[in-house]
Amino acid sequence: MAAQGAGQRGARDPVQTEIDIRKVSKVFGQGTAAFHALTDIDLQIRSGEFFTLLGPSGCGKTTLLRVIAGFEQPTGGSLQIDGKEVAGLGPNQRPVNTVFQNYALFPHMTVAQNIGFGLKMQGRPRAEVAATTDEMLNLVKMEEMAERKPSEISGGQQQRVALARALAPRPRVLLLDEPLSALDLKLRKEMQGELKRLQSETGITFVFVTHDQEEALTMSDRIAVMNKGRILQLGSPHEIYHSPTERFVADFIGDTNFLELPVSAVEGAEATVTLPGGNGTAARLPDGMTPRPGEKVITVIRPEQAHLVEDGPADLQAEVETAVFFGTDTHVHLRLPDGQGFILRRQNVDHMAEPAPGTRVGLRLSPGALRVLRG
């Protein structure tokens, strides 16, 4: 019922900003011991989106979530939730709920009491607490377990209860701190689908933390890639995967080829670079970068964006070092004429023969796939 209402809220104004983070920083300690956990975070999270913070361990993901939830006060910047400044408000005064990494279910309460806790604290009438608890039990398919204690249910079930408990008060935003990291692979896949379903059914804004790039790519509407307390790149999974602007982002997400190539010409946001072997090809430049002709730049291309050519013109030549068969695809390790290594991923249709080590092959790059990285 109310879940639909929340859905409409999201649908009515899909680009409304739910969380507006401006120049937020967080410093732990003082003086020489000061540690900058977050530096100048600028982030607008949209109403009803599935937003992911992705980054390696220690990059500040949890700290940012804790700042949003109100467990930590930022040392600088401003934070608005639903248009209201929340500086100085405690976690109990923010329309935000958290799913904790270790679930943090109350061990002395039943599953149903856990789920109803937020509503009870809000002072909702008994009947409403009971009705919403039932609705949530139903939503996460835990009706049979309502009277069990958290110690009497499995890890995956605890995960569902933690979700239901956080969703029950219908927060505007749900914060999820690596909620799936404690689950085994199969359960994890299952819960990924479950989370997506819950998000679209409730229309609540999800801010999801993970260090698993595949999880981020499959689940998110938008991803912010973080490193060392900063946001390096913000964009859709497509943009992050296909148009990384920083070496760190390209390296962190998926398999990548980095090629160091000289620039021969620059025109607007596009440079012409010289491939090993002498052919020129276009490469997209990141915003605000204009290398001089002759300068060497780092470019990036995904393994599946290069193709072996049987006949016809090739962009460059390479020698096969090894080919590793993975079932649906084969990874071909190549050596370019200038000595740089290159990995190519070929989809296996029909029964294709593996290229033999030592053979010389022609490579064609997908048009527009090559990108120049900053730095």
Partner: protein, 289 residues
């Protein structure tokens, strides 16, 4: 020399010679010479006197050394002894009151030292709270004697208040330690989760911290209770006339003739203590979340 060093090093690291692991597997402290003798001696010293005490509480005669047949007469005598009844009631009342107050104060102290951000002098506070564990009881006793005497002269009040206050202060560390241990092992994210789910600080305490703390509080109360019930030195120094507790009464009686009535009282005392300890284990195990 070098060879010896290498060999020792290897031995220290666990050794690679095949014989060594085998020998280690068979190694057991039970095989050390004298292990059995020491163990038996220890248990005998621990329990035999108590067994004898209990046994002679059922003696027909008045002797503590010669068995003259089974009888419950000393229990009957103890129950009919007005004085014994009075001091028992006083002891229990004092233990419940002092331990109750001590548990309340200890709970507040434990919350104040675990649920606040670290403050300067925190270690000092631990030490101060635990004073009774460090200062010899007899020193505390004499200090209290002088202190209480001065107040008595000033105010003329000679009631049970002095004993309650002295026992309370003495019980606080015993109540404090299990409560603090419980708070420290409690997952702090539970309280965070409660706050996240709109609980005010008081509600988070009332619905999350307190229920989870109950086993610690019960343990603290029972420890304090047993300590108060048992303490002789402090009571002896602080009590006014007619304020004997069970232990000080028994001590007083022993200066005269030791009849098996004392054994009977001591046995009952022992039974009560055992009951409390058992209850304590059952409660903490059942509530053990």
């Amino acid at each position: 020399m070098a060879e010896v060093t290498a060999g020792t090093e290897r031995a220290l690291r666990g050794g690679s010679d095949a014989a060594r692991p085998a020998r280690r597997r068979n190694y057991s402290v039970r095989r050390l010479p004298g292990f059995g003798v020491i163990a038996i001696f220890t248990f005998v010293m621990l329990y035999l006197p108590i067994v004898i005490l209990v046994a002679y509480s059922f003696n027909e005669g008045v002797s503590q050394a010669r068995w003259e047949g089974f009888s419950l007469q000393w229990y009957e005598a103890a129950f009919n002894n007005r004085q014994v009844r009075d001091v028992s009631v006083r002891s229990l009342w004092l233990a419940v009151t002092a331990s109750g107050i001590a548990t309340l104060l200890a709970t507040l102290a434990a919350l104040g030292t675990t649920r606040t951000s670290r403050f300067p002098g925190q270690t000092m506070i631990y030490a101060l709270i635990n004073q009774p564990l460090m200062v010899p009881e007899v020193v505390t006793g004499i200090a209290l004697l002088i202190f209480v005497a001065a107040i008595k002269v000033q105010t003329g009040y000679t009631g049970m208040g002095y004993l309650v206050a002295a026992h309370t202060a003495f019980c606080i560390p015993f109540a404090y330690l299990p409560i603090r241990a419980r708070l420290e092992t409690m997952d702090i994210t539970l309280e965070k989760a409660a706050a996240d789910l709109y609980a005010s600080p008081f509600q988070a305490f009332r619905y999350i911290t307190l229920p989870l703390l109950v086993p610690g509080i019960v343990a603290g109360f029972m420890l304090g209770f047993v300590i108060s019930l048992d303490t002789v030195v402090i009571t002896e120094f602080v009590k006014s006339a007619g304020q004997d507790t069970l232990p000080t009464y028994m001590l007083g009686q022993l200066r005269r003739t030791v009849t098996p009535e004392m054994n009977a009282i001591a046995t009952l005392f022992l039974a009560l203590s055992l009951m409390i300890v058992t209850a304590f284990f059952l409660i903490t195990r059942k509530r053990g979340v």
